[in-house]
Symmetry: C2
Subunit: 226 residues, 2 copies
DNA sequence: CGACATATTGATATCCATCAAACCGGGTGG
DNA sequence: CCACCCGGTTTGATGGATATCAATATGTCG
């Protein structure tokens, strides 16, 4: 269906460790790079899992859809993150570029071949899968039992840790994306953000609603509930 | 904190394959059995992950708690299921016996030692972790985006597949357990079950509300939404 | 049988969704 | 450079699904 490796791809020879995977023997495997425009599907749910990806620049959302269009985003992937490692023949999510995004990719099969003989790589795959699981498990608690305030606070806290450089975080995703990650509507997300702003917990920077500073991490954390 | 291996434990020598794990060399590792009464904690969140468990008889709930008591059950484990495989030093959930439950257990460390040299075992660990992840991913969609009817239908569908023997399924868990699995209240679960009963989709058997027959799988599936 | 846990059902409240309008910022083209 | 458009956001008014509170019914276990 989706041929994501098109004409302008730039194949490179590289090492697994550049992909964030340490290897005992550190063999050379082929890596390539590709850039997707904003909104482009990188792979679709149930498509054969041919590649594993690492975000080089930009952001990716990974989601499931119900037949009537309801969407649940399972995770956002930011620079450095690896995604698409489904340990199976097909992808269980759709992956889409949130903004213009450059990824590096590696053939799943080549990774598996190495893993079969290299215990270090094999352990790495298990480790990555485990951290995906851990993230999903925490998200279950959020989706099943937390209030809208707690959800938004948790999201901001997560993003603050992951992409805040120098006091300001620039959210690549829309309110709708955030809502679909948190199991809310975009209006509810917007209202809670406004509340937090009025409460002096955060503020917008300059003239955009995507650039946010956390003014009071202490108080933000107090909305978290653990 | 919790010493779950007490006096009456029955250590046995056994093979990994009896634990549902195939191994290339199939070495002998020690397995023991233990029985927990209804409601007993098997291990607590953040406790060191010393053992991996397999349900022999009974049922287990695995959950996280918020400080104010809100509970999210991540999974139920039924006979044959393996749980407690957290691939890390500590457990990320609390595990509790839903009813009187017998488990077999294996030292995590011994499993890891084998996995380090046996690629087949190693792949098995990855496979189990992946299926946990897959279950969690589907549950994210349910918790984030499905209606109470869809949730209860999905639960009944899951249980029908997993523990229905000969037309009748006997649910070991209470309405509260089901609610905490589905991110609902026990009253809402009860109401939806009543609806489904009035609609002729299911019925109670004999004189209990825990023994259920699905009368119309077709119609149950129509509540599922995919 | 009695007592306690669990389940059902009803009445009401609450949080969040939905519907709707206005606003804002960025880009485009006259 | 301004006017307009368009995607995204905010804010308001209202509704609805599910939570909460409460009473009754059912089931279980000593």
């Amino acid at each position: 269906m989706f041929v994501h490796i098109t004409t302008d791809r730039t194949p490179r020879l590289n090492s697994l460790s550049d992909f964030g995977i340490t290897s005992g023997s550190n063999p050379i495997v082929s890596l390539s790079e590709f850039t997707y425009p904003k909104g482009k599907v990188i792979y679709g749910e149930k498509e054969p899992a041919e590649y594993v990806y690492q975000v080089k620049a930009g952001a990716v959302r990974r989601y499931k859809l119900l037949s009537d269009g309801r969407r649940q985003i399972g995770a956002f992937h930011l620079p450095g993150d690896i995604f698409g490692l489904d340990n199976g023949e097909t992808h269980r999510f759709t992956a889409e570029a949130v903004v213009k995004t450059t990824v590096r990719l590696i053939k799943r099969q080549s990774l598996e071949v190495v893993a079969d003989s290299d215990m270090v790589v094999s352990r790495n795959l298990l480790g990555m899968t485990t951290s995906n699981l851990q993230h999903a498990e925490n998200h279950l608690l959020l989706l099943g039992r937390k209030s809208s305030q707690e959800r938004v606070a948790a999201f901001l806290h997560e993003m603050d840790e992951r992409l805040s450089s120098a006091e300001v975080m620039s959210l690549p995703m829309t309110r709708r994306d955030i809502a679909d990650y948190l199991g809310l509507t975009l209006e509810t997300v917007s209202r809670v953000v406004s509340q937090l702003r009025k409460a002096g917990v955060l503020d917008f920077i300059g003239n955009t609603q995507r650039e946010i500073t956390i003014l009071d991490r202490q108080r933000l954390a107090s909305f978290l509930q653990s």
